[in-house]
């Protein structure tokens, strides 16, 4: 097994909704695709997520949001990543995201938005093609 150069992904659930299934499915799925996935559990503040992303030196932050607060939360997280000069980290968002909000997320710097029904293989392929 080639041990070197793994893509590290933080799967995080900001905000107050307790629906963890989606985040877990993504975490397990990305693991099975060969990623090193750091999972931090429910109800994380933007500060906690950014601090974990920096310490773990991840390539990707994946946010799972089903509460409807995706615009506010994502904006905060991206701002905080910028403050830490960590805007090279790829941010993707999944969960329940209305189509009309996607352009705004993209404008903030979110590279990909994946709503329910996305295959994990597609997410994996997206990450790989956007990092290389």
């Amino acid at each position: 097994m080639n041990t070197e150069k793994k893509i590290r992904v933080l799967v995080a659930k900001p905000g107050l909704d307790g629906h963890e299934r989606g985040a877990r499915v993504i975490a397990y799925g990305l693991r099975d695709l060969g990623f090193e996935v750091i999972y931090t559990g429910l109800r994380q503040t933007p500060e906690e997520i950014v601090s974990a992303a920096i310490q773990e030196d991840v390539n990707v932050v994946g946010l799972s949001i089903l509460s409807g607060a995706h615009l506010t939360l994502t904006r905060k997280i991206i701002e905080k990543l910028r403050e830490q000069n960590a805007n090279d980290i790829l941010v993707i968002v999944g969960g329940i995201i209305p189509d009309k909000d996607v352009p705004e997320l993209n404008k903030m710097g979110v590279m990909g938005v994946f709503t329910s029904g996305t295959s994990i293989k597609d997410v994996g392929a997206f990450i790989k093609s956007n990092l290389s």
């Binding site: 097994m1 080639n2 041990t3 070197e4 150069k5 793994k6 590290r8 975490a27 397990y28 990305l30 693991r31 099975d32 695709l33 060969g34 990623f35 090193e36 996935v37 750091i38 999972y39 931090t40 559990g41 994380q44 500060e47 906690e48 601090s51 974990a52 920096i54 310490q55 773990e56 030196d57 830490q84 000069n85 960590a86």
Partner: protein, 315 residues
């Protein structure tokens, strides 16, 4: 190349958390020049106390690490944590979930947590864990906690990296002896019976004492057995006191130091030689060739290895 490493190390030494994290990644990935980088870092190390936390899966190692960190950080220590989880030998991927149980300490300023996957290493640690300990030491951490993969019976790599080892057991695992077979038994500087509110905790403590009495000779120091309930924090203050006493009394593995250094040199050499050979093989395609030959039973694995060794002029 060296200059790039030097500036990264300087950034880390200035206290940049991002610099520290990136340096760890590059060393873990064995980026070109990593041996040079470690040579620069080595003289900056030697101050931190390294504590290994090992035990069976589900014993509560992460939760205990969280509690220990809170207690130690309250006392003013700067803490680094290395939390190791297994990589899948099939996909190479890993789910690193230890942080999940370390939520409360994850935002303390002087606490740095790094999750690592085993990446194929056996024995409950990652190959680079020892190097990462040194980087955290050079960064200025006072105490570095290494939480191993949940281990079974003889995965005791942690002893080669740590000054003190806590072996965490839980009540009700067979007769209590099951969790502390040869190997695990010898590495413990302190035994922790966690989840001590469960039935059979006192029995587990008694079993461990009985085992220790059997194996100890007159002169050896008594290994303490401590009961904790990591989820509530009960017993953790006592445990911390005992750990600090051990350090003050110099009851750390200095007797092992020579062994440890020897082992570190040998294993680094072994890994670097193997990596070198593999890289060369990857480049010239000879490994694929050899695999085909062996698959077709035109050659055997032994002669493949012998050929490679003779190329190195070792024989």
């Amino acid at each position: 190349m060296r200059q790039e490493w030097e500036s990264q190390i300087a950034e880390m030494r200035k206290g940049s958390v991002r610099g520290l994290a990136r340096l760890i990644t590059r060393v873990e990935n064995r980026d070109t020049g990593w041996l040079d980088a470690m040579q620069i870092i080595y003289p900056m190390t030697g101050k931190a106390c390294v504590i290994g936390i090992t035990g069976s899966p589900g014993a509560g190692k992460s939760t205990l690490t969280d509690r220990l960190t809170r207690e130690l950080s309250d006392q003013g220590f700067k803490i680094g944590i290395i939390a190791v989880d297994p990589s899948s030998p099939f996909s190479g991927g890993a789910l690193l979930g230890d942080r999940l149980r370390m939520k409360e300490v994850s935002t303390i300023d002087d606490v740095f947590i790094r999750s690592m996957a085993t990446r194929g290493a056996l024995g409950g640690l990652n190959l680079a864990a020892r190097d990462v300990v040194k980087i955290m030491d050079a960064f200025g951490k006072d105490i570095i906690l290494i939480e191993t993969v949940g281990v079974g019976q003889d995965e005791v790599e942690v002893v080669k990296a740590a000054d003190m080892v806590l072996v965490v057991c839980v009540p009700g695992m067979g007769d209590g002896i099951q969790a502390i077979k040869a190997g695990i038994m010898e590495v413990a500087d302190i035994f922790v019976v966690n989840k001590a509110d469960k039935d059979g905790a006192d029995q587990a403590v008694a079993d461990i004492h009985a085992m220790l009495d059997l194996s100890a000779d007159e002169a050896s120091v008594k290994i303490p057995v401590v009961k904790t309930i990591a989820s509530t924090g009960e017993g953790v203050t006592d445990l911390v006191r005992m750990m600090l006493q051990n350090f003050e009394a110099g009851r750390i593995r200095t007797s092992w130091q020579k062994e440890r250094i020897k082992e570190e040199i040998l294993s680094l050499l072994e890994k670097e030689v193997a990596r070198h050979l593999r890289n060369r093989w990857d480049q010239n395609g000879n490994l694929d060739q050899a695999i085909k030959q062996v698959t077709a039973r035109k050659q055997d694995p032994y002669s493949v290895v012998q050929e490679m060794i003779s190329l190195m002029h070792l024989q």
